[in-house]
């Protein structure tokens, strides 16, 4: 199940990052972004807070219910302690409330949402990750693993990833399209496209600076560097 997870980047020269690629039976590679220690600590802290609030509120309610309440109190403590994470992870697409707030998700290493056996395994083995104190073993295991897996994750074959955000697509700048006067490779085309698509995130000085470097190669007048590159990008995209 795990053999199809590769950490080798797809395109040669891709940036060094924590992304891992999942090769699917359809022959495509899907990127996953494992979540690191700080964000998972925060998610855990939020969950701990929610659990203690529930514990206090229900505790007060049980107090008024006498002996039945005393029984319910130990059952609810038991549920919150051992089952809170499991129920949320299995029934809510791998997200406990803390993880959901921070945009995290638990998945099997084949990319599918976590199920009962795996969720139970990873959450019961939390007991060992906690040892000897303050999650020491879990933290050591996470920083020692390329996919930030604690011991429970390793045993259950799960990982915690960032949920993908819908990408923001900026419109290209409004200039008339003009085909490039030289033949461009795919990588070069994509670099020009990226430059044009990110025009709102780059300062005009920086755009000027970058475009001036490439302008002579593309036979663009230096004074028209930025609009010239944008025009080529539009033609690559097929816009007029």
């Amino acid at each position: 199940m795990n053999a199809n997870l590769t950490s080798a980047p797809l395109a040669p020269g891709a940036l060094l990052d924590t992304q891992v690629y999942l090769e699917t039976p359809e022959g495509i590679d899907l990127p996953l972004r494992p979540a690191g220690l700080p964000v998972r600590f925060l998610a855990f802290a939020i969950d701990a807070l929610i659990r203690s609030v529930i514990l206090i509120l229900t505790g007060i309610a049980w107090l008024y219910m006498g002996k039945l309440g005393a029984g319910l109190a130990s059952i609810s403590t038991f549920l919150l302690l051992w089952w809170y994470m499991v129920f949320f992870e299995v029934l809510n697409q791998g997200r406990s409330p803390g993880k959901q707030l921070l945009g995290l998700q638990v998945i099997h290493s084949d990319g599918t949402p976590v199920g009962w056996p795996a969720s139970l395994t990873r959450n019961l083995l939390r007991f060992v990750d906690l040892l000897p104190f303050a999650y020491c073993l879990g933290i050591l295991s996470m920083i020692n693993s390329s996919r930030f897996q604690r011991l429970g994750d390793l045993a259950a074959g799960t990982l915690v990833v960032y949920q993908a955000q819908a990408p923001q697509r900026g419109a290209l700048p409004e200039v008339p399209a003009r085909p490039a006067s030289v033949l461009l490779t795919l990588d070069e085309q994509r670099a020009l496209l990226d430059f044009a698509e990110r025009h709102q995130q780059l300062s005009s000085q920086r755009q000027e600076e970058l475009a001036t470097i490439i302008a002579p190669t593309l036979h663009i007048a230096p004074s028209q560097a930025v609009p010239g590159v944008h025009a080529i990008a539009r033609s690559i995209l097929g816009q007029v």
């Binding site: 999942l22 002996k67 056996p117 139970l120 395994t121 083995l125 074959g157 698509e197 995209l237 097929g238």
Partner: protein
């Protein structure tokens, strides 16, 4: 084909697929949309491959990657009707796993019941031995629990009889917690499970030996025999599951330790799942049956022995049939 034309051509399909996936995630799929889901999903994968190969821009590729990932998650998710799965597990899966893992189960049983029996015998022969495990106060309060003069016996005898709920809650919390610890600490190369199996075995053995020696055997044995069938078996199974984890780390065979651990955990969690079911049954029996004093000792011992036979029969024979549901 230029990117803009490509997008215009397929935008409608992507939109429809995204809505379909959302509906599936929420668990309210449209029948019509589901029927051609596989086809649509393969279409998305093909578009993604094309987009990458033709060097289309990153936002488009990212959008298609997300659609493909969401489709992948729905298409390959591990799911089947929960109730059917549970029944299949109880009838076939669990007892079959116990039988297949008879080595771990045998080792765990030997450790637990061996230490229990040995300690019980030693406590009968050397009465002072119990004080090496428990303080004098603990021994006194334990004697008090099983005093034949009590109306209610067992760890909750100090309270009155209306407290069935309290007992049920306490037993669930306490016993399942112990089972979970016994299992999880097996990850420490099996040492944790070894410790908890021996510790619980010695402890229960000492109590049993001591109470038998001072003549409380009727109350004690009639109290424990009923739920013991499920509870002690569950502790052994949780220990066996933990030992299995530990042995995968110590002797991974031809696999890497991580892979051996993952394979072992898949089996262990089934043993533990069964142990959890056993412990719920045990807590129920302990709270509502074992602690009752209106039943005669003979009834309790007979029923208790029958429960032991039932557990052993279930683990040995359930799910052996040729046409058993998987």
């Amino acid at each position: 084909m230029k990117q803009t034309d490509f997008e215009q051509l397929h935008q409608g399909k992507w939109q429809a697929f995204a809505e379909n996936v959302q509906a599936l995630r929420k668990g309210q799929p449209q029948l019509q949309a589901v029927q051609h889901f596989a086809q649509d999903y393969r279409g998305i994968c093909q578009h993604l491959a094309l987009a990458k190969q033709r060097g289309y821009s990153y936002p488009l590729i990212e959008e298609l990657q997300q659609l493909a990932l969401q489709g992948h998650q729905q298409f390959y998710r591990h799911k089947s009707p929960a109730l059917q799965q549970l029944i299949g597990f109880v009838v076939v899966g669990f007892p079959a796993t116990v039988r297949a893992q008879w080595r771990s189960v045998a080792v765990a049983s030997a450790l637990f019941f061996g230490s229990l029996t040995l300690m019980a015998l030693l406590t009968v022969w050397f009465p002072d031995l119990i004080y090496s495990l428990m303080s004098a106060n603990q021994v006194a309060s334990m004697e008090n629990m099983y005093d034949p003069a009590n109306r209610i016996i067992g760890p909750m005898s100090a309270r009155d009889h209306q407290d069935d709920w309290v007992m049920f809650g306490f037993y669930i919390m306490n016993n399942i917690g112990i089972a979970f610890q016994t299992f999880a600490s097996g990850l420490l190369f099996g040492l944790g499970s070894l410790f908890f199996l021996l510790f619980n075995g010695l402890h229960i053995g000492a109590v049993a030996g001591h109470l038998t020696r001072i003549g409380y055997h009727e109350t004690f044995w009639s109290f424990v025999i009923g739920h013991g069938a499920f509870e002690l078996t569950a502790i052994v199974l949780a220990g066996a599951a933990g030992l299995k984890l530990g042995s995968a780390l110590i002797a991974p065979g031809r696999l890497t330790r991580a892979n051996a651990l993952r394979d072992a955990a898949k089996i262990s969690i089934r043993l533990l799942g069964g142990a959890i079911i056993f412990l719920f049954i045990a807590a129920f029996i302990e709270a509502y049956w074992s602690s009752s004093s209106s039943l005669s000792v003979t009834t309790k011992v007979t029923v208790g022995a029958a429960l032991w036979a039932l557990v052993l029969f279930y683990l040995s024979y359930s799910g052996r049939g040729r046409y058993a549901p998987q």
